[in-house]
Symmetry: C2
Subunit: 224 residues, 2 copies
């Protein structure tokens, strides 16, 4: 077993940025535009997974029959509907302070998001995170997004950290599942609106309210 | 113990109508307008309780200091922000079918909502529920809303049903707590976006996905 100091890999939406509900309703709009009516809570439970898997899942579960061109349109419709709501998006409490603390303590950290740089860009700006300077892995850079482990593996590699020394912090069960597939430890945050039980059942070894709560308890997860 | 045939008392938002996420973001807007920044998931966890208690809670938890006039403004700001999102609100799957089934089987039912008739009106229309003909108790008609039991007690009284024969169906822990205070049995639905565990811990004796899933399993809760 490795006993090195931990590195942190963060999910973005719902973990550092308070944007999950806006993304959920943006997907609801996008699906509605192509004639698919899916309950909002069901969309919420799938948020954070790869957009491709999300689309496959919903076609399978709703029995909807969309042609390839319409399916290919969905990411654009979602991005447009999200942009209309982006004004109400904020950094989560403690997100900037948590990153500032890690920088100060020279604890390695990175961001790994299933989103594309187009929508992730403004969120990174809110956190003073710069992809030119900081380690940010987006959907654009890997073949498979969550719950596949690729995003977190790529982040660890860029950090030069063994993935087994990494603590993945996420708000959705897809983050937790991807962390487990990568053999990282997963910390769950409630700030994406999932229940504590859902995150623990998925395998989170600790659950906090939000980045502020994690920062207050950082020593519990091995950061010194 | 009573062994009469059960009556059903339904919450509205999140239980029969897919409107919780729109209400949540509308509250986020309203609070933002008066200078209170509260994470969206924290608003979600309070949705469904009395607006007055909701406001007290958030002033207490955020430490915000609002004058009485501003506090009195909040319901109007929320209603206005909700109206802007009302186009995307739908009846939940099975909601109309469930009500039609209860009507057909002459099983008594009512609606008890913490909302006011102003916002509840259009939702009732989507369900073909008419307050002139059907039993609907809104916030306007009782002194205290959920988690106080008044709404459900008033609904049972209007139905002419002993509250102990009533099955309260709701999506939030405030519905479940109010049902328990009224000594009714509570059935939880996941369609408001709470986790199953949260509803069970609050005391739901059975949890289903949504109205469709409840309709499929109606005999499990004693309806014949």
């Amino acid at each position: 077993m490795t006993r090195n100091a931990p590195a942190f890999i963060f999910d973005l939406d719902g973990t550092l940025i308070d944007s999950v509900y806006q993304h959920v309703l943006a997907w609801h709009d996008a699906l509605s535009e192509v004639g698919i009516e899916l309950s909002v809570w069901r969309i919420h439970r799938r948020i954070g997974m790869s957009g491709g898997l999300f689309t496959n899942m919903l076609l399978r579960e709703t029995g909807a029959d969309l042609d390839e061109a319409t399916v290919a349109e969905l990411p654009r419709l979602h991005a447009a509907a999200y942009k209309k709501r982006a004004d109400s998006v904020r950094a989560l409490p403690g997100a900037r302070a948590l990153i500032a603390h890690l920088r100060e303590q020279n604890i390695p950290w990175a961001i790994g998001t299933s989103g594309r740089i187009e929508t992730a860009g403004p969120s990174l700006g809110m956190l003073d995170v710069d992809p030119e300077r900081d380690v940010v892995v987006t959907r654009d850079q890997v073949k498979h997004a969550k719950p596949d482990p690729d995003l977190f593996l790529a982040a660890a590699e860029t950090l030069g950290t063994d993935i087994q020394d990494a603590i993945v912090v996420g708000d959705s069960i897809w983050d937790v599942l991807a962390a487990r597939r990568a053999r990282a430890l997963a910390v769950g945050l409630l700030s994406g609106g999932y229940g504590q039980d859902e995150l623990e059942r998925a395998g989170a070894y600790r659950v906090y309210d939000d980045p502020q709560d994690l920062l207050t308890h950082l020593d519990e997860v091995g950061a010194r």
